[in-house]
Symmetry: C2
Subunit: 603 residues, 2 copies
Amino acid sequence: MAYKNLSFENVNINGGFWEEKQELLRDVTVKAVYNRFKETGRFDAFKCDKNSKIKPHIYWDSDVAKWIEGASYLIKKSPEPELEKIIDEVVCDIEKNQLPCGYFNSYYLTLEPNNIFTNRDQHELYCAGHLIESAIAYYEATGKKKFLELILKYVDYIEKRFKIDRDTPFATPGHEEIELALVRLYNLTGSKKHLDLARFFVCERGKNIKEGNFIDWADSKYSQSHDEPKNQHTAEGHSVRACYLYSAMADLALNDNDEELKVACESIFDDIVNHKMYITGGIGSTYLGEAFTVPYDLPSEGAYAESCASIALIFFAQRMLNLTGEKKYADVIERILYNGFLSTFSLDGKSFFYVNPLEIVPKNHTRHASVKNKDPLPPMTRFEVFECSCCPPNIVRFLGSLGSYIYTYDDMGIYLQQYINSEATFNIGGKEITLTQKTDYPKNGKISLTASEDVTVYVRVPEYLCGENTPTSGYIPLKLKANREQTIEFEIPTMLVSASEQVKDAFGKVALVRGPVVYCLEGHDNENELFGIYIDKSTTFRYGYNEKLNVPTIEVDAFVREKTGSLYAQFNDSYKKTKATLIPYYAFANRGENQMQVWTLVK
Amino acid sequence: MAYKNLSFENVNINGGFWEEKQELLRDVTVKAVYNRFKETGRFDAFKCDKNSKIKPHIYWDSDVAKWIEGASYLIKKSPEPELEKIIDEVVCDIEKNQLPCGYFNSYYLTLEPNNIFTNRDQHELYCAGHLIESAIAYYEATGKKKFLELILKYVDYIEKRFKIDRDTPFATPGHEEIELALVRLYNLTGSKKHLDLARFFVCERGKNIKEGNFIDWADSKYSQSHDEPKNQHTAEGHSVRACYLYSAMADLALNDNDEELKVACESIFDDIVNHKMYITGGIGSTYLGEAFTVPYDLPSEGAYAESCASIALIFFAQRMLNLTGEKKYADVIERILYNGFLSTFSLDGKSFFYVNPLEIVPKNHTRHASVKNKDPLPPMTRFEVFECSCCPPNIVRFLGSLGSYIYTYDDMGIYLQQYINSEATFNIGGKEITLTQKTDYPKNGKISLTASEDVTVYVRVPEYLCGENTPTSGYIPLKLKANREQTIEFEIPTMLVSASEQVKDAFGKVALVRGPVVYCLEGHDNENELFGIYIDKSTTFRYGYNEKLNVPTIEVDAFVREKTGSLYAQFNDSYKKTKATLIPYYAFANRGENQMQVWTLVK
């Protein structure tokens, strides 16, 4: 029951909630990230100047490559000569500095030319993977071949060293990424060797247990090297690395009809969404190793929930959606889109979270009265750039290709996975069909569809509406007549949601959720200490609007305990009534340092 | 309104709750600590053998000194030739290795003889302070003068270097202790120079702000060097260092009638008990610097609450009690005695906590699935010895001198501060009076008193009974007739206690307290996940007994939430009834690694 995916190339997001975000990307974010990267030397690093004062870091190539990938998506949709010029310069630098064998990595060429492919933890293959993806994207956006050709040469060199000669001290990358990049390359080139190399990197992993212990403080689970991927059934280790690997596994399962990998992917995905995912769709519960931990370990203030991990989980979910045709994967994408992904960048598009906490208690940052260095975590505001700046360009490339996540299709028709105002062009059974989706979602649940031909559109029922009356598949079939608008309207319920009683930090608490959007309390909107607020379980929901933030608000009835005078006193179960105001989680931390919480007591 | 303190020398604890503990001290603990110290080389370190394989640590002298002090208290009460022999050997080693100038410190003499008194953070004056206290105790126990004489010579050398020549690069100790030891020495010798040196060390502190920044990661508050002590009004920095300083300040306030120091002490004490003290009497809310933090910052799982800090707070409270005559200080001593002090050692007397958490979640220790080194904190069981082993011998010396905390007196009569079965001898207005206190407290609140002469005994009303009908002073005067027993009986109420609504980790929760004893839940006695238990606010209390632990238990009605199947689901406010069983906090962690919590949800 596999779906085909409709690429963003064939989808224009032209209005509504997400067009605004894409406009912000084109007008502000892509340039903001470029400027920070330029200032910090990330672009000049491609010149491989040994005399430069600024020394490249091992992951800088990947930062720039992700930015190029994102910029290419913008170029693909409409010309951006300025961005193109920047990219051409990078390509020129790569051409100049690439070794005759094909190798390119600005860090190693500049600082450690004799240590190429000697250290599994040094991100060379990870950087290579991002260079592959950016070269593909730039070629597809501009038709210019040079970048792709340079990278194809590099890929041949990687194949030679790792797969043919096998003369490197490690067999697979410490940080996955190249695996899925190679499948994507295969989809472009049709060259079997690219798919084979992807499979090689996926399937060699975990064969040599010793290889897994390449980092002092972590064990082989950290890099998903504890077993062969086909035998892995739980999500383990560094959450971004993990989801890149799982994405490649799903790719291979689809391409090669590999049932073992499919079963492993299904089981890993279920482990994530049933045990290890925040209500925001964030994953990775610990700073230590930016990693998955154990089931139900979802600390709020201590959440890691890296921005890149949210994006990586979307990659994994989309592949699983295509592989299985099961709607639950699209549900998870929606959860991440409106929460854990949107939270990663500021409303002005200029600054970014690496870590996306579910609770912020500013006082905790200054509790160590006699210690000089205050706790830096969790971050209380977004930053314009960070030393390890993998997330901002990942946001750029994901948002630039958001169109790819709206529709899938097969011979039966079109599957509408996300309610996003757009115009899409399909080729189904040799026939070109244009589909127009008009919606203000998530403001309301009205979706109007018009197709240029008769076609059945299967509309996904949102996860929060699924119940006894939902079709088994979770999709409502709409038989559209050519050029005749048809409308479907979902209720957008507001509800109090609780977590499993095994989640300690959410115990006895609720999150307020409206449709797909998780809300949170911020100190700015509430005079009471947030952790002391009880939402009234019988509250009504009063909808409002925050003009400054330009986001909806919800006011609820609440209680706080009567103040006690002393530090300890006989328990007195008395409360006073109050109100609390919530904003969408994605809009938090846009007004300076501030209390915030997603999970709130209830009574 | 100052009291005189009745020393343990004149008090025999002869039955009831605390005699058991003192017997355990004499039979087990003092030897257990000796054996561990001997094994680890702490005793042999006094030989200052440069060729020894084991290198002394900078605080080892203080470990042994505290043990000697405790052993001396036992010797004082009844002969212990074996302990005396051990101590005489140590004294012999000190005599052999002491420098002609009087200096003695096993670490410096063995490893860094050229760096004496050059580094404020190296605990030399702290070790000296403990040597002073142990020499006094040993002299008072045995009448043997040698140890005291050696130490008096050392004190003269310290006076010369720090107060007369002032040729050391720092003026006051990085870790306080010598200040109160010198006051104690003055009380023995009557020599003004000892009191003056104590005052010197107290009052020089904070005069040179630069001196406060002797540790990279901490600021001057860490060592209470941010201002002159007379200007300090909040509890700051390393909590043990702080309370040793505050104790010395109170000593000086009493000896010199120093109103400024008295006011500072009162204000600091209030800051502790109103803002910075756990319900167990523990203090120091952070591992970072083992320090006081900010008001109401009392994390449960993250509690530090060092054993030595509990003892240090008793020292401070006792001095404040004597200085002011206010009962609230005796209340705090009682709170610590039955909770934060008793929890520091195992029921078998052989192992010890350095850190006394209010919550243990074993799962959190293994949550980092892919990280090799698991979180060591908070400790889940007591240890026989630790590298920094200041606490075990501190427990020995405190418990050995527990008799000193039961009574105070003045010309008006006797003040019964703690309900501890004992026989005490007073000299009031030249008349010797023997007072017998019979009680099973805290099992029940019945106290029977018999005195050998007519005397008024002022019995402290327990903090938890104080209300409108309590005399203003908080003491009930009992006019005893010679040799006629009189009985007073306090109710021992069981109640649910809540913390200030500003304490995040206790919010919406209660602690169960019976009389002075704080109870806790342990996993062993409860099948439900502890954090998911709600105590029924209308519960009755069913009293039981745990034969294995030999401690009382209390069973309460409780609720748990109905289990939900999925990780997130619409809030459903449904519960099922259950029961929960609590044991005294002091008995926790005596059955292996285990969940534990003091603060429990309530509804």
